[in-house]
Each structure stands twice: as structure tokens, then as C-alpha cells.
Amino acid sequence: MKLTTYAQSLHDLNIIKENGLDEVLLGHKEFSRLGKLSDDEFIQLSARARELGLSPIFEWDILMTETEFPSLAQKIITLKEHFTEIRLQDPGALEFTLTKMDSKIQWITENGNHNLFGLKHWEDYIGPRLSRLVLSIEIPKLSLTEYIKELKTPVEILGLGRILLFYTPRSLLSPLVKNSDDPVTKTMLQSETFEALGESEESPHKGFPLVENRHGTFMFHIKEFCLLDYGAELASLGLSYFRIDLRPSSLTDNLPKVKALTTEFSTEGFDAFKDTYPQDLMRGFYLVNKTDVLFPKLKNSRLVRKDEGYVGEILDVAKSEYAVIQLKGKVKLKVGDNLKFIHPEGKEYIVPVVWMKATDLTEITEAQENQLILMNTMNGLWVRGQAYLA
């Protein structure tokens, strides 16, 4: 299992080389969500990376509207000699790269793509130029194990770094302070990237890092994602690349520690790392992803209509007088039938149909779909109750 990480300066490249990595991720400010490198800086870092024997990987992970796309597409052609592989996230960038360039492709599937069937189809579509699949951190270990085994392509996941929660092209921070007279605030607004922390009384989590730059606004989790304590396990599963994103902290301080922990893990070493690392850490859904278990509680399944024996819905109940039912099912209702109602808490009520009236109050003995009928009621019936033939 190899480590991969970002460089933002020549110094970073030296640290990366010293720690034995063989590639480096470069974020150009026009192409990369959090990239800060200008053309010259990118070219300089790319050249130096090659001198050091590091493979420069170009990150093109922004999403682009049709207005933005053509100029970036034109520009990437002029930069292609400065990188060995390109990593992409917008399907448009993928299509362009496949049809107009010949670079090896690292395909970021971190949004969605939580099934092997889809991932295999990405492999088939991109073909031999696909050098890596970057998988979502929402995929739990059990699935990841299967994916690594079944996919033909080397797999990368985030090993340490911020968890991106939210990405919008709109500028959300600057409008809050744009009219400020404060010179410090004015200076902040002139910078290409500025950051803040957000918290809400409606959430128990405090201190979400927020970043605004030319690509919009980003919100991150208060804790960083970390699987360093599972590094050996992931290596044994056959994971090819472990991404270490130290851009918010210090590459110099932390990359050697990460390298040591992934080479030979020790609980003491990991505890010491956590003690000094500037952010709290979490493993997210690595052990298990249960983000759908609450769904049944969002809706009472007893209130959901069942098709079998369905008669209709109560629209009105006048205590001890009558209930009004809108017949919606295919069955005919007759005097003498028994109706079953299932209360939201599970209790079943059986009501014999003793009498029925049409809405003009004439007596009827039979009714069918789309009719509105009045009938005898009993204690406990409720509006919106679903009626079934018992």
C-alpha cells in the first residue's frame, strides 16, 4: 500500500521525497477545489517533482458549468506535458479527457458510487487508461474488501484528512462581511481563499471548518477522517493507495509520523499522534454504514397503504354517529362485510358494515371505487385510517 499526498510548495516536495512516496498530488487553483497553485507554481512544482523522481498527478476535481468548461478544457491541453496522470471527478472532464487527451486517469468516485456493479461499469467505460479508482469513504470495510478483490483497477481511499460535507458554487461567507469597514476584514476579503468556523444550535457539532474560494464554498466535518489504525488491515486487503491530506495542518510535522504508523503501527505511537494532531479524528463508516436504519422511523409503515384487500380511507369521523370513507381500492364494499383498520400504534379494529349511505344520505347496500360513503362507526376510528376487507 502506497501513500499519496498533496504538495503546495517546493519544501513540501522535499518532505514527500524524504518519506519515500513516489507520487504527488498537485492542485492548480483553476482546476482543483482547494488547489492554490498558479500556472507558474504548478509548472515549477511539477518539474521539481520529476527531478526528485516523484510522479506529478494533476487534480481536476471541480464541477463545471458549460460556461466554465471550454476555457478549462483548452487550458488543460497546454498543461498536459507537466503531469503524468490526471484525477477527475466531473463526468464532463472524464469524457473530455477520454476523447481529447491520452493521459492515464484516476477517476474519483467519492460521491455516490456505493455499489460494485456501477464501479465495474466505470472500469469498463474508461478501459485501459484507468489507472486508479478513488472510492468513497462511506463504503464500509466489508464492501471495500469485496470491491478491492473484484475490481481490476488499483483502489485509493482517504487515510487521513478533512471530510467534505458540502460543496456549492455560491459564495456564502463573503456576503456576510462584504460591507464591513474593518481593514482586517477588507484584507481578508481580498485574499483568494478565506476560512471561518460555523456552528448551529440545532446541531450538537461545533466548529465546522468553512472555506470560500473562486470555486464556491465548502463545509467540512469538525473531525478529520482517519484510518491510520487500520492501515495494516487495509494493506492486507490489497488497498493500493492511502491518501493523506495534510493541507489544513503541517506536512512537515505529520507526514513522517503517518509514514511511521503505516510502516509499523503501534498503539502508543498512534495515541501520541492523536495527542499532537490539531484536529479530533473519526473513522466514519469504516466499520459499518447504517445511514439507512433510521428511514423506517421517518414514516410509520402501518400508515402506508397495502394493496391486498384495500378498500379506502376514512375522511371524517363523527363520534358515535358515522364515518365517511373514500373508496379507493378495487374491491366492492357491501353491507355485512367486515372492515379492518390498523391503528398507527399497531392495534387492529374490526368494524362490521351495518349500514351505508351515499352522500345525498340515501341508503345503499353496495359501493365501489371512487364512491364516498357514510357508514356506522365505533370508538377509536380516526381520520386517515386505511380500511381493508377483514
Partner: protein, 401 residues
């Protein structure tokens, strides 16, 4: 002469809403089954309801699209083939999909038309070309695009293009928000969105001696594109979509009627009259909503597209009274009451086409013909019959509490 107009595509969170939307003029509706969509808490459709909904729609020359736009996990995919085969059997018109695994499952098991969901953030021609190669026949482009950009995509990628024109908006690129996943353990991209973007946040810029700023900084105003309709027509956008499967019958009906009437007017006249436009805008304003924005339909959404207010603070002066469940000479007009009204209140019954029917509720009766002076929510009441009132007509009133 008849001019090109787009399809009006309305939300239908339940079978009743489907009927309301279609009767009020929607050319197509999008609905969800009990699984695979993004509105887990919505009523949604059982298999039998889907069949009934398709029959109801097709009898009226309307189409039904079924959403399968969750980012499905492996185990979710297991049940999908049977479901999509059923959808094909009952002749739904297309499925709305955002994940390649789902696209390929649908293509492998059926010949259904595939529309790529806005969740996939299709934002440029190249992206649309890719999805076309994957088997898509239509893309529902990201809400970050202008109508003009979408027109380019339609022409250059050679696909049908559908665009949102009205309703609530994600502030994030759709499919690119996982706040609920990591803070509340609910997968927003499988139907569990907790709407954290609507919360008020304290923003600390780390400036010395400066207090945090409180703001609903991630909340977007609601989209309203009625004034941009000429652009949609000019660019030949195939379908204009109204958001809101969780919203009321009144919403589904009012939106369908208003946008359809506007487009019918254009189809017949080749233009929009400004006084008509004012009337349609006024109708859209009578349904509960956040402040409106055109977002990115014309120019890139700016500061003014942020809804920096508490939810539901827009106290709309119009209230939904309910809808007509039966109307006949013999029985009168039977209304299912949603919000209470009083004897003497002025009510508006909205017909499926044409002018509003204004009535005064002088005589209100229970179903057993007992007189009532003040109605209660979740009851049925009878009013004397008025010609023109029909089942599923919506009823509203000004200032009823």
C-alpha cells in the same frame, strides 16, 4: 399556428397529488415507489397505486416518470430488477436515475427510457455526452446552469433536457452534500436529508474583537422561473420541472395550472402579455413559499439568492382550505377541510381550467346536514352546489386562520 412549448412536469408525492397535478394541466408527473427515491418520508406509491396512476395519466395523455435516484448501495440493488421490470410492465414512461449501477441495472433488465437525475450534476456538454453513451435519453441538468447553457447542452449533446423552474433548492451541488450522513447518521442521498442547510449558524471568521455572525447562510431562496419562460422556449428546453413531492395538493395543483396556462397562452399566441404574466406571478405567490429567486436561470446565482431567514417566516396571506372530494346537484360541494374556515368566509374554488370560482360560505353543513358555523380541520363539510366545481378542485381563502 402553434408554437413550441416545453412539457410541464409536476411533483406527485401520492396518488391524489398525481391526479390533482394532471387534472390541473401537468403534461407529466414524477413519482416515487416505496424505495429507491430521495423522499423516504413522503407517502409515495404502492405497486397498485403506481399502476392506477399510470392508467390515470395515460388516459389523459400525461406521462409518469418514476424516481430511482438514490445513490444505491449493493444490497439496495438486489431488489431493483424486479421493480424495474414491473415498471416496464405497467408502462411507465421513464425512470429518473443518478447512479451508474442503477442506469446499467435498468438497461440490463428493461427497455425503459432513462433520465439522468439532477443528483448526477450534469453541468456541461461533455457530461451529457457521457450519460448519453451510458444509455440516457434525457438529462435533468444541475440547478447551477442557466437556460442558455442548457440549450447548448441540448443542441450539442443531442439529448432531451429537463430543467427545474420552480421550488425549493439545494444550496449544494445536488448529490454533493453529506451533512446529514455524517452529523445525523441519515444518508441524504438515499432519502434521509435532515435539511441542515436550513439551520441558523454562527460564523466565526477568527477576527480579533469581532463577534460571530449569525446567519442562515446555507439556505437558498425558492426558485421561480415564470418570467424566464421565453428563454426556456427559445432554447427549446424539453421539460420544465416543478420541485416538491412532499408539498401539498394546493401546491401541486397551483403550480401545474399556472405554468400550463402560461405555456398554453404562448403556444396559441407566440408571446406573453405582461398583464397575464402579472396574474400568473400573483397565483404562484398564493402558495406558501420562501422568498423567490431566479437563481442561476439567467445569470449565476448571487448574494440575493440566499434566504437568510428562519424557515416558514413567509406568512403567506392565502391559506389552503382543502379540496373538493365530491360535487353534485344532489350532495352539494363536499370539501375535505385542511385549514378551518367560518360561516361567511369568502372562498375560492380553483377550477382545472379558467377563472376562479368565488363563493361565500353562507351555508355550511356536516355530512348529516347539521348546520356548522366554524369548520374543523380533518373533517368533511358540505356547501351548496355551484356549477363548475368538480372533484379534486382546490379551495383556498384569504386570511383564514
Amino acid at each position: 399556428m402553434s408554437y413550441f412549448v416545453p412539457e410541464v412536469l409536476a411533483p406527485a408525492g401520492s396518488l391524489d397529488k398525481l391526479k390533482v397535478a394532471i387534472l390541473y394541466g401537468a403534461d407529466a408527473v414524477y413519482v416515487g415507489g416505496q424505495k429507491f427515491g430521495l423522499r423516504t418520508a413522503a407517502e409515495n406509491f404502492t405497486l397498485e397505486e403506481l399502476k392506477e396512476g399510470v392508467n390515470f395519466a395515460h388516459e389523459r395523455n400525461a406521462k409518469v416518470y418514476v424516481v430511482l435516484n438514490s445513490f444505491l448501495h449493493d444490497k439496495d440493488l438486489d431488489e431493483l430488477p424486479d421493480f424495474v421490470r414491473y415498471l416496464e410492465e405497467i408502462k411507465i414512461d421513464a425512470v429518473i436515475v443518478s447512479d451508474l449501477g442503477v442506469v446499467k441495472t435498468v438497461a440490463e433488465h428493461t427497455k425503459l427510457h432513462i433520465h439522468i437525475s439532477t443528483q448526477a450534476s450534469v453541468l456541461n456538454v461533455e457530461s451529457a455526452k457521457l450519460w448519453k453513451k451510458m444509455g440516457a435519453t434525457r438529462v435533468i441538468v444541475g440547478r447551477e446552469l442557466s437556460v442558455k447553457e442548457s440549450g447548448i447542452i441540448k443542441r450539442e449533446a443531442g439529448l432531451e433536457v429537463e430543467m427545474f423552474i420552480h421550488g425549493s433548492m439545494c444550496m449544494a451541488y445536488s448529490g454533493n452534500c453529506v451533512i446529514s450522513n455524517f452529523t445525523q447518521g441519515r444518508d441524504s442521498n438515499r432519502g434521509g436529508c435532515a435539511h441542515s442547510c436550513r439551520f441558523e449558524y454562527s460564523i466565526d471568521f477568527g477576527l480579533k474583537d469581532k463577534e460571530s455572525i449569525k446567519a442562515y447562510f446555507m439556505s437558498s431562496k425558492d426558485l421561480e422561473g415564470i418570467r424566464v419562460l421565453p428563454e426556456f422556449i427559445k432554447e427549446e428546453i424539453d421539460s420544465i420541472k416543478i420541485e416538491g413531492r412532499m408539498k401539498s395538493n394546493l401546491y401541486a395543483g397551483t403550480m401545474s395550472k399556472t405554468y400550463k396556462e402560461a405555456l398554453d397562452y404562448y403556444r396559441d399566441n407566440g408571446d406573453f402579455l405582461s398583464e397575464k404574466m402579472l396574474m400568473w406571478e400573483s397565483e404562484l405567490g398564493k402558495v406558501s413559499h420562501r422568498d423567490y429567486t431566479e437563481a442561476s436561470l439567467v445569470d449565476k446565482a448571487g448574494d440575493s439568492s440566499i434566504y437568510n431567514e428562519r424557515e416558514n417566516s413567509n406568512d403567506n396571506e392565502w391559506k389552503s382550505i382543502g379540496h373538493v372530494v365530491e360535487a353534485s346537484d344532489k350532495a352539494g360541494i363536499i370539501i375535505e377541510v385542511r385549514n378551518a374556515f367560518n360561516q361567511g368566509d369568502e372562498l375560492e374554488i380553483i377550477p382545472f381550467k379558467g377563472e376562479i370560482l368565488k363563493i361565500t360560505a353562507n351555508e355550511i353543513m356536516s355530512m348529516m346536514m347539521n348546520p356548522i358555523t366554524r369548520t374543523k380541520p380533518s373533517t368533511l363539510v358540505k356547501l351548496p352546489y355551484h356549477r363548475g366545481a368538480e372533484r379534486f378542485n382546490l379551495v383556498r381563502a384569504k386570511g383564514s386562520k
